[in-house]
């Protein structure tokens, strides 16, 4: 029996299942009530896309696609860390400006 005849449908089936899971992750990212929810869903989607790229590398017999997968892993990690840090910074800045505004008001009242 030919090897291609088994592996090709298997990989296609795997890609279809993974794409459905990706869609469910996207629903979580849209629904998520908090920012951390959305970032977590994006992280999960990154993991599944990594598996998809690896499957594609074996399906197309192109080894260099795994390099892209490695770079994708690094960029997805970096994006999560950077977006969290930026969001914490923005939130604290707004909080401090609100506090100082409130403090100024109370001072005026007193």
């Amino acid at each position: 029996m030919n090897k291609e005849l088994i592996y090709h449908p298997l990989f296609i089936f795997l890609l279809i299942v993974l794409s459905f899971m990706l869609l469910v992750c996207l629903i979580r990212a849209v629904k998520g009530p908090r920012v951390a929810d959305r970032l977590m869903a994006v992280n999960m989607m990154g993991t599944m896309v990594m598996v998809m790229i690896s499957v594609l590398a074996l399906l197309l017999q192109e080894g260099y696609l795994v390099d892209i997968c490695l770079i994708y892993a690094m960029i997805s990690f970096l994006s999560v860390v950077v977006i969290s840090k930026v969001y914490i910074g923005i939130y604290e800045e707004q909080h401090h400006s609100q506090e100082t505004a409130e403090g100024g008001n109370t001072d005026e009242r007193s």
């Binding site: 908090r34 977590m40 598996v51 074996l58 080894g63 999560v80």
Partner: protein, 134 residues
């Protein structure tokens, strides 16, 4: 196909099946839990164990070449990256949520938690000692 290749196919399929089941569990947990810090527990599982199982299955399919080594590198990288990103995300949640105490207990000092845990362990030990006597 020879017998060895059939065995390779079956073992690889087994690993990929384990990975898919773990991904499915992850998705179920993400929709099942009610709060971000609980959901994160389910989501961190797929980042390390799910992708490890899937890539080990693909490595068995691929055989011994450079592609396999790169996949192993991805697994090792995610072992380091996933806990760090979970930690950063939970810090984001703890820093930006104003009524965090509505969802979980907050200990201002670690010593309070340690004292409570030690007290509960002592209580358990005392109950276990009393049980056989009575």
């Amino acid at each position: 196909m020879s017998a060895a290749e059939w065995i390779r196919l079956i073992i690889g399929c087994l690993f990929i099946l384990i990975g898919m089941v773990i991904f499915f569990t992850e998705l179920f947990g993400v929709f099942h839990f009610k709060y971000v810090l609980n959901r994160m527990h389910a989501a961190a599982m797929g980042d390390t164990l799910g992708i490890s199982a899937c890539l080990i299955g693909l490595m068995i399919f691929s055989g011994l070449n450079f592609t396999t080594m790169k996949m192993f590198l991805i697994i090792v990288f995610l072992w380091f990256a996933s806990p760090v990103s979970s930690h950063v995300l939970s810090r984001l949640e703890a820093a930006t949520n104003d009524n965090l105490s509505a969802h979980c207990e907050i200990y201002e000092d670690v010593e309070i938690l340690e004292r409570e845990l030690a007290a509960s362990v002592e209580n358990n030990n005392a109950e276990e000692k009393e049980a056989p006597v009575s």
